[in-house]
Symmetry: C2
Subunit: 297 residues, 2 copies
């Protein structure tokens, strides 16, 4: 009997936690304080959305779970590094993340800086320490895609645009451009890299899934903006309402809640329509898309 | 006629500068401010010691110069990222680097944080964008070695130990442990990765060159500590005497200048002795070792 979505999600979250436990240097290994703080930043929290997307992507090509765990850990380390640096005083200056004090509050600023730096490196180390594709050239291409999604033309570039946009009036295309980089690039890479852990697909199918990844990335951000307006800090596990407080443009500030919700519905439907031809192999990714639009945290 | 060492060094520095110009995103590409600041951090300065070591390593195995440029650029980007973050207010809080204002002074702290982050990613992107070894599995191993040298068990771990050692009384073995990580790991990787761009060597030869890399890394640091004590800020292009000012343990503070000089001579001789069996193919690495001990900046 196939597991329900909720069982599947719990299973992936659990195995991701175990894989991350194993993938991070032990807390008693020198330099111990750095390693302890790296583990603090990554373990015991987070929705693990990106690992779920990696595994859902892997279902489309029958990928081995162990390979998906490896890719999922690498991506989650990149995500965690970005949160640690984003929370620092010179950036968003936030004190709460995943219901716990942020790294620079729990430790200190210098440690937070090094934790983010070392987590990024650990991601690239982890994805080179075992086989994630039968074809080594494909594996090199996957590392390249991870770097593209992470760097100045991906996530980090999105952060830079976000920084420059504080207090600015953005147009909807400009806001979309920012989010396609800041959150979208890594979400998109999660699906694409999960897919590539398994058997080959034709170029048309790869392009469709890449588009789906882009749409899910935007969907995730639109929902995030709605939640930032409507949910409270305890439910989110991070400071609520901080976009408005920081005078940052969001989908809600540009469109209002009602139209932002409608946009989310449209994006969700677009993704589901494009996944339909993949039949059963797209089950988890379709369920995950519906989950993202329903989520309350 | 073979070029003199000084001609060779000038040639490598020049081609490295050109390769870095090309390897970094253009300053007018969005996000332009980030890309401009990345270029500011990397271009037009620096002794390019690591690229010189990559090319000298490559001479030992007849490696193609284009491959060596690629590896050299990746390593130099990692080095530049570490300097940008190291100079930030929460770390060494320095205002001068390579004779110019540091990135957080010239731009701002948030930009400096993102510049370091993006330069690290760019290094891993760069080393996956073209072939650096005929064997793709070897290339994956080389990326792994770069990550090992960069991360929490390499350079970044050394930074963490350095941070924890301020105001502490270290023993000579503790100081050596710190430097083997902080500066040593990337210098050692420079030689090892340069070597691997060319034809294969036997395990014994690889082990010898790895040892030479470790010795040159220590030599570099001992000389750096002597220069920090003796040279002035204008000659160094960075703030002189800052280790003493920051109450950081150094070879000079532990051994005194005379014994530190003697240690440098011993390390230099050890490296040269081990390089001798490689004959002409070790010419540049031997010359470079002698240059490092003679250098005034």
């Amino acid at each position: 009997m196939t597991a329900t979505f909720s069982q599947w999600m719990g299973d992936i979250q659990q195995r991701t936690e175990a894989a991350l436990e194993h993938a991070l240097p032990a807390a008693d290994l020198a330099p111990a304080r750095l390693h302890e703080a790296m583990r603090y930043a990554v373990l015991g929290g987070g929705k693990r959305v990106r690992p779920l997307l990696v595994h859902a992507g892997g279902q489309l090509t029958g990928a081995a779970p162990g390979r998906l765990d490896r890719v999922a850990c690498a991506i989650e380390m990149i995500h965690a590094y970005s949160l640690v640096h984003d929370d620092m005083p010179c950036m968003d200056d936030d004190v709460l993340r995943r219901g716990k004090p942020t790294v620079h509050v729990q430790y200190d600023e210098a440690t937070a800086l090094l934790v983010g730096d070392a987590l990024q490196t650990q991601a690239f180390l982890h994805i080179t320490e075992a086989t994630v594709s039968d074809d080594p050239l494909r594996q090199i291409a996957m590392i390249r895609q991870l770097a593209q999604a992470t760097g100045s033309r991906g996530m980090c570039g999105g952060q830079a645009i976000d920084l420059a946009s504080v207090g600015q009036q953005l147009t909807l295309p400009e806001l979309e451009f920012m989010h396609i980089h800041k959150t979208g690039a890594l979400i998109r890479a999660s699906i694409n890299l999960g897919v590539q852990c398994g058997h080959g697909l034709d170029d048309g199918q790869m392009a469709t899934l890449d588009h789906v990844g882009k749409v899910i990335g935007l969907l995730f951000q639109v929902v995030d903006d709605i939640l930032d307006t409507e949910a409270d800090t305890a439910t989110l596990g991070k400071t609520a309402g901080k976009d408005a407080a920081n005078d940052k443009p969001t989908y809600v500030s540009l469109l209002g809640v009602a139209r932002a919700r409608q946009l989310a519905e449209e994006l969700c439907q677009d993704a589901l329509d494009r996944l339909a031809p993949f039949g059963d192999t797209s089950q988890r990714l379709a369920e995950l898309t519906r989950f993202i639009i329903r989520r309350q945290f």
